[in-house]
Structure formats: C-alpha cells, structure tokens
C-alpha cells in the first residue's frame, strides 16, 4: 500500500512538471509582445526593452524556464544584482502584464469564490444524486423511478447558461426570493456566504445531480441483485441496513471516483457557471486573462487548474485503494 502511494505521488509530481513545461512552452510560442501589451502602443523601443528586461523575458528560453520552475519553490528576485531587484515570493508565477499584480496573489484572491462554489454545489449534487438514484433503484419501474429518470434526463440536457439565467430572472430579479449571487467570505458571515452562493450552488448541482442519480441507480440495481445483498436479507437484517449499508457500499466506489474527478475539475474554475452568475472566481479570471492575452495570468490559471485535477486523480486513486480491501491489502 505504501509503495503504491509513493509510486502514484511520484507520477503525479512528474505530470505536474510536464504541465508546467508545456504551458510555459506554449506561452513562449504565442506571438505577443508583452512589453507592448503592458505599456501600450505609444511606447518607445527603449521603454519596451526596459520592460522586457524587468520582466526577464529577454533571457533565453531555458533560463526563463529554469527560473520559473525554481520560482515555484523558492522566492524569486527579478533582475537580481540590479539596483532594484523585484521580489516575488514562492510559489512565484510572475506578474500580470496588465495590472502588474503578483499572479499568486490574484489567484489567492479569486480562489475562495471558486472553492465555495465547487464544494457547496458538489456536496448538494452528491447527496441529492445518490439519494435520488437509490430511491429510483429501490422503486424500479414504479412511478417514482420514472419521474426521477425523466427529471434526470431533462436537467442533464439543460445548459447552465440557460437555466442559470432563467432562475436568476425568476428568483432574483422578478420575485426577490434569492439574493443576487455574490461571494461573501464564510469567515465573515456564514449565512451571507450561503445566501450569496445559493443560486449558483443549486443550479450547478441540479445539472450535475442527474448524472449521479443515474450512476447510483445503475450501481444499486447491480448490487441489489448481488448474492451478498441476498445474504444480508436472509440474515434478517433491517431493510434500511441492507439497502444503505450493504447495497450502497457495493455501489459507492465508482460514484466516489467520478465525484473526486468532477470536484477536482471544478476547483480549477467553473468558467460558465461563474460567468453566468457574475462571480469573480478562477473561471472568470482565466477568461479575463485569455481576453487580455495576459500570459502570466493564463499560465497561472492553467497550472492552478492542472494542480487540482492531478491532485483529485491522486486522491481518487488513494481512495479507491482505501475503499477496496482487495486493492488495499495486495498493493
């Protein structure tokens, strides 16, 4: 188990380096002049050269790359040795071309919104989806099952920018039932935080819940016909125990796997949801970065997203091993 853990972690680290390398390489390949972008069209060649020098983008690619990677781990000083070296604390992702702000700071400022959205929504859809799926499986072929199935199909076919605007129009603008989505730090006020996130949570959850309901239904139908569920029944265990403990335990592994991957992807920014509800998270940040060709910010958001996806994969693999005693003991 320990060996497996080490192996998987090492793979994840290597993968992260590959992502950093590729992203950085792509950044170099873009035919954009950061100096021009950051000071405008009226800049003299000399000013541009100075800016290039200050950004250290006049150095050869390999030097830039090694400094960038090193900066991820230790504090980086731009123009070290000059009279005004600029300090960039680790993990350093550089400075925005547009605002000259430290990219790490920007990410740090925007991340809580995305995390709140991701965690809240995923929790709702996980619990809701699994419960609906179970009900559906246990009442297979009955009206409840058909209703759940139809709803699942209906909502999974919807797009967030459609349903998001419809519910905003109805609940927020017309009837003022739900406050306008905004991000308030939960450390300030939990109720305001929840109220501000409620609509994005519900909308995102509703759309994703459908998939989980169907996944749970399929899994439950399979485990409900397993011999070990029959054993549990033949042993006179209570119905709830048979269904929630024995049957659900057998079906939960793939659900947890998909959940981890979905959550990881969402942590890297929910572009459409955030822009639909005007939330200032990582998703909208990456959009802004792309629109403005703010290369350090693009790199920052890509690495940020990749980090969470790779971490989620790693955690899911570990969890998978922990959930299955056969894997746990032999690996």
């Amino acid at each position: 188990m320990f060996k497996y853990f080490i192996k998987r972690t090492a793979t994840a680290v290597v993968l992260l380096f590959v992502v950093v390398f590729v992203t950085f390489g792509l950044f170099m390949a873009v035919p954009a002049d950061p100096a021009k972008l950051s000071c405008g069209k009226t800049c003299s060649e000399e000013t541009k050269a100075n800016i290039r020098h200050a950004m250290e983008i006049d150095l050869p690619f390999t030097t830039q790359y090694t400094r960038f990677v090193k900066g991820l781990f230790v504090d980086r000083y731009y123009n070290k040795g000059s009279q005004q070296p600029r300090k960039c604390e680790a993990p350093c992702l550089g400075f925005s071309f547009r605002t000259d702000e430290n990219v790490t700071d920007v990410l740090q400022r925007r991340a809580p919104t995305t995390f709140s959205l991701a965690l809240g929504a995923s929790l709702i859809w996980l619990i809701g989806g699994v419960l609906l799926g179970m009900v559906s499986a246990l009442r297979r072929g009955k009206t409840v099952d058909k209703v759940v199935q139809s709803f699942a199909l209906f909502f999974s076919s919807l797009q967030i920018y459609l349903i998001g605007w419809v519910v905003s129009l109805y609940f927020v603008i017309k009837h003022h039932i739900i406050p306008t989505p905004t991000y308030v730090s939960p450390f300030e006020s939990v109720s305001k935080w929840a109220a501000g996130m409620l609509l994005p949570w519900l909308t995102l959850a509703l759309i994703s819940m459908a998939g989980y309901a169907r996944l749970t239904r399929a899994g439950m139908l399979e485990t409900l016909s397993e011999d070990y569920v029959r054993t549990a029944r033949s042993n006179g265990l209570k119905k709830g125990r048979v269904q929630f403990k024995h049957a659900l335990r057998g079906a939960i592994t793939p659900i947890i796997t998909i959940f981890g991957l979905d959550l990881g992807a969402l942590m890297g920014g929910a572009v459409i949801t955030e822009s639909t509800f005007g939330l200032k998270g990582i998703g909208t940040l990456s959009l802004e970065a792309v629109y403005e060709l703010d290369l350090p910010l693009i790199i920052g958001t890509v690495i940020f997203g990749a980090f969470f996806i790779i971490m989620a994969n790693l955690i899911v693999d570990m969890l998978y091993a922990a959930l299955d005693p056969k894997v746990r003991i032999t690996k």
Binding site: D227, T231, S234, N235, G236, R241
Partner: protein, 341 residues
C-alpha cells in the same frame, strides 16, 4: 407438533416477458425436528426457488407464491416481511452455494457475523464480537480472534463456507437450509464441510434441508430424500429406499448415470433429452418425453394425465409420481449396485 416444517402445495411462478415461468408446481413435504432432508434435482427443477420461498426471500419480488409453509405452526407465506425478517436467522437460516459472492466483499468476515447477532439480540458491540469469534472457533477457523478482522477474499473457499455456516448458526436457528453448500469446493474440503454440518446438526439439534444435485452427498448426509423434476416432487422416501430401490424412472435414471468405477465400460449412462420448458406446463407427466418406460403404460396416459404422488404397496414410506404398475417398476427399475454407500 410433530412436524417442524410443513410445506403444502407450494407453487411459485415468475411472470416474464415470454409468459409465466412455473418454477414450483405444488410441492409438499414435511421435515421433523432434528432430521435432515435432501432435495435432489437438476438445474431448474425448482429446488433453490423452494428454499428462497421458505426463507421469504421471494416477497418483494415479482414472484407469485401460493400454498402453505408452516414453521412451528406459523404460516410463512402469509407472514409480513417484518415478521419474516425476525424469523430469518433466529428460526431459519440459509447457507448459499458461492460463499465468495455471498459474503460482502467490503466488510470484515467477523463483523458480518457479529452484525447478524446484534440485529437479533439486544447486545453490545463487544458481546456481538465475542459471539462471532466463538462461532468462528466452533466452525473450526484457526485463530478466530485474528481471522475475525479478515476480509472474505483472504479466506480460502473452505474457510469461507465455514464462516457462512457460523453466520447462519450465530442466532441458533432450529432450521437450516443449505443450498448446494459444497458444490464450489474440492472433494476433501467438501467432506470436511459435510462433517462440520453433521456435527453442528447434532450439537444444536438443527433440522437441515440439503439441496444438491450430488447423490453422493445426499447418501452421506440426509435421512430422507425428495427428488424434484420440473417443479414437482417425483419421488420421496428414506435415503436407503430411494437410493437402492428407486421407484420413479427419473430417480432411476439419475442413479444409473453415476459411473461405476469397477466396470471397464468407458461409457456413461445418461437420461436422454433435456428438462422441459417451465413456461408451459405439460398436462401429463413432465418426465414423459424423456421416459424410456412410457410405452409400458397403456393408452399414452403419461402424456395426457398427471400421475399423483402416491405411496407404494411394497414400501409404504416411499412415494412416487408414476403410472407404472408395481410389477413393472419392480421389473424395469432394477436395483443396481450404485456408487456411494
């Protein structure tokens, strides 16, 4: 209350797309306390469905169950699911064929046993664990307190089946259904499991229904035998009677297909044909199409009329469902030196 279990005219049917599968068609038998009954028959003859019906495990499925199953005077078919739940494990338990599939792969073996004990007894976790270890010890699992925490896949096949027996007996039921408990095991382990079942039967005075298609196992284990064909009993009697003097062409055929190790003939006897479709019940004897003696019954009666299960003149404790005359049976179903006993 001489009969511990009484099954009367049990019928089980499963509606399917193509029609209705008549899995069991009017099965009746009794089982006295402390005795063991072997039910023999080929796949699809309705033996497992019978056991599931007794356990009440067909409730909540689409199966249509009718007839009577009386356990200590209580009708199990009429019993509610909740009553059935309380009866399971405390009065009747069941051991299944494939122990690897029948144990939950994600829970520790000991905990699964303890869970059953705790579900039916008002005891603490620690007491349930103690009881589970005790039972593991009783069924011959070495180092039971250590093995308590193992997962099913860490047990060998024989040990898993022992654990299944421990689980089935943990609440001290007076009645046990063993559905092909030794089929998935190799012969030496099979013998050990049979030995174990015999000894627990004696110790707990348990009645056992032993479902199998292995006549050797029956001859070792059972007091009485019920031979099933197409959802009906075709022959009933004591082990010695049925295995040495079969009175129905089907049981006779089954026994004749056991290879004789002493003979040098390299040919196996078999019953020609295949079991009938259970979708449409024949009006006559279900075995008629495969029966090699049907011409001995006048007027093609076998194909048109269903023979009753009736006791026989010369051995009154034995019953068979056949139109053959006593003289014909005696002449045609010649007793042979069968393998086994």
């Amino acid at each position: 209350m001489s009969n511990f279990l009484e099954v009367k005219d049990l019928k089980v049917a499963f509606p399917v797309e193509a029609g209705v599968v008549h899995a069991v068609n009017g099965l009746s038998f009794n089982l006295e306390a402390g005795k063991s009954l072997g039910i023999v028959g080929e796949s699809g003859s309705g033996k497992s469905v019978t056991s599931l019906a007794i356990m009440g495990l067909l409730k909540e499925s689409s199966a249509q169950v009718s007839g009577q199953i009386n356990l200590d005077g209580q009708d199990l078919i009429a019993a509610s699911e909740n009553d059935m739940r309380k009866i399971r494990s405390t009065k009747i338990s069941m051991i299944f064929q494939d122990s690897l599939a029948a144990l939950h792969p994600y829970f520790r073996v000991g905990k699964q046993i303890a869970e059953v004990y705790k579900a039916h007894n008002n005891v603490s976790k620690a007491e349930a664990k103690k009881r589970a270890i005790e039972m593991l010890d009783r069924v011959g699992i070495p180092e039971p307190d250590k093995r308590f925490s193992d997962y099913p896949h860490q047990f060998s096949g024989g040990m898993r089946q022992r654990a299944m027996i421990a689980m089935a007996l943990v609440c001290n039921p007076k009645f046990l259904i063993a559905d092909e408990p030794t089929t998935a095991l190799d012969v030496t382990v099979q013998a050990q499991i049979l030995e174990l079942l015999k000894s627990v039967q004696k110790e707990f005075n348990t009645s056992i229904i032993f479902i199998t298609h292995d006549l050797g196992v029956i001859s070792e284990f059972a007091d009485d035998v019920l031979v099933m064909y197409a959802g009906r009993a075709v022959e009933k009697g004591s082990v010695v009677e049925v295995l040495t003097k079969p009175q129905h062409p089907y049981s006779w055929g089954l026994l004749s297909s056991i290879p004789d190790l002493d003979s040098h003939v390299n040919k196996f006897n078999s019953i020609p044909g295949t079991p009938p479709s259970m979708l449409k019940l024949a009006s006559g004897c279900a075995f008629e199409p495969r029966c090699e003696f049907k011409s001995n019954v006048a007027g093609g009666k076998c194909a048109s009329q269903l023979p009753e299960l009736h006791s026989l003149a010369e051995s009154p404790t034995q019953e068979a469902r056949c139109f053959l005359s006593d003289a014909d049976r005696k002449r045609l179903l010649t007793p042979r030196q069968f393998a086994g006993n």
